[in-house]
Symmetry: C2
Subunit: 303 residues, 2 copies
């Protein structure tokens, strides 16, 4: 069983329909709160020799990404720190990065927990607030499918980090920073809650996340491979190391762009959105004319 089959299993036991989106929307009085949780764990999401000065930033950002993709703004966080004895000196820099991230995203850490552990981990729980929750389940036939920016960069950055080369070229440094220090655009939240029919953050890789959207909405999606946005840096990287950039875009995770659907007849679009496909009646996801392989991003599996 993979992660998503396990989640389905748990969902069937807990029988709670709120499970299964980027965030769980909870009504408190006249407010809609968004609850989410994401972890960074050594050995799974980062390796011991990676630079760790942005871990605190990234742990907050990956949770902010889920809140924003649901149309909300981050408000409060709890941080559960798994701390090996020989990494106690990391507590101060990690706390400072968490503080910087919270200042940048305008949210606050109000509590948490520290536990001794063999592996370093930052498990963050976040609460956001929205005027209108956007989930994965309401894509409609005729909707356009958009991405908010290029994808694949983070995976390329990860690949570069595991190459352990020195020095890195400047475009390589940009890709590495995309991986280590993702920056979430809070402005997407308002646009999404006013315009999107469905949305998801691209955290596991487009080829996995677009299936979550299609399956949750019980619709078919066709995407045009030529329209998938690729950065100049990713193209340089793939040329230099002879990789296929589309592979990185499809299977690469952690770009934290938003994949969204919007009524195809809607007049309002944001200039920066990139139209990559369309929603139809039916099921499955197609890349051009072929069924897309549902392949989620596994950090350290052979690519």
């Amino acid at each position: 069983m993979n992660e998503f089959q396990l989640i389905d299993k748990i969902k069937s036991i807990l029988k709670n329909d709120l499970i299964g989106d980027d965030t769980a929307p909870i009504k408190i009085g006249d407010k809609t709160l968004l609850l989410t949780n994401d972890i960074l764990l050594e050995g799974r999401h980062f390796l011991n020799y990676f630079p760790q000065e942005f871990l605190g930033w990234k742990a907050i950002s990956v949770n902010v990404s889920d809140i924003v993709a649901s149309g909300g703004k981050p408000k409060y966080a709890l941080v559960s720190l798994l701390l090996p004895k020989n990494k106690i000196t990391l507590v101060e820099p990690i706390s400072r990065q968490i503080k910087k991230a919270c200042q940048y995203y305008d949210c606050q850490v109000v509590g948490g927990n520290i536990t001794g552990s063999e592996k370093l981990g930052l498990d963050v729980f976040m609460i956001g607030e929205t005027k209108k929750f956007i989930g994965r389940r309401q894509a409609k036939p005729g909707d356009n499918v958009y991405l908010t920016g290029p994808i694949g960069d983070s995976r390329a950055g990860l690949k570069l980090l595991t190459m352990k080369k020195k020095p890195y070229e400047s475009f390589e440094k940009i890709l590495i920073e995309k991986h280590l220090k993702p920056v979430i655009n809070l402005n997407h939240a308002k646009y999404l809650s006013q315009n999107a029919t469905s949305s998801i953050d691209v955290s596991d890789g487009l080829s996995s996340d677009i299936y979550h959207l299609a399956n949750s909405s019980q619709k078919k999606i066709i995407i045009n491979s030529e329209k998938i946005p690729l950065s100049r840096e990713l193209k340089l990287f793939c040329k230099k190391y002879r990789f296929n950039p589309i592979d990185f875009a499809l299977k690469g995770g952690e770009d934290y762009q938003v994949l969204l659907t919007q009524n195809g007849k809607s007049q309002k679009t944001n200039d920066k959105l990139i139209l990559i496909g369309k929603v139809y009646k039916g099921s499955g996801v197609f890349l051009d004319k072929n069924k897309l392989k549902d392949k989620s991003f596994d950090h350290f599996s052979p690519s």
Copy 2:
């Protein structure tokens, strides 16, 4: 640095006054929500050979305990599951226990996360609701200090588990169950929010938690060793294995009783509360005439 010194360090960096109680009280509209987080991690909070059928129950309960000790009722939870590959079959029983616990405590799991990990872990984030938040900081001179029930049982149960003996006597089984499957009394919440000046759940051990209360309130507490409630089972255990029951009561953690203070002139008390001491101007905690050693519970350190 120990856990609490690390928390102080983080608090000084994040500069958020909401950090440092059992829960963080958050105003949303006219509601006060209580946020908390607690983890059960293999190797730290339980060992591989312990029976694991109550892990899901316990992970929910330890969080409910923090909510109740703050005067609230549990509402929503997110569960972050750290899952070793060879323990995938535990997902179903753990989910079923979580469901049972949520039914018992009248709360619901609305989301979470699964991550591959070398060690099994359940990191739970919980949201509760209260009419009046009770923290650790408002104990007043003249207040009585109460416990809601006997302490030390859970630590004795843990000791018995690590003895790996078979069969266990019936009083031993009771102590083991106290450790593996703590049951939180939701009724304490209302009493606390109506009557307590301060409170904390006894999760790290009385000798540690009472210092949290005294230090946070900037008061002195004197407790009477003869008044510390000890169960019949703990006494039998200590007699059989030649331990000092007061040691287990002071240093044993995970009993999840509530330690509370209440105005000494208040007429209203609950019959089941056990008066163990009194609050004074000053600082420090005294057991009878001697300063109490601030010793927090470390699961697998030599006792």
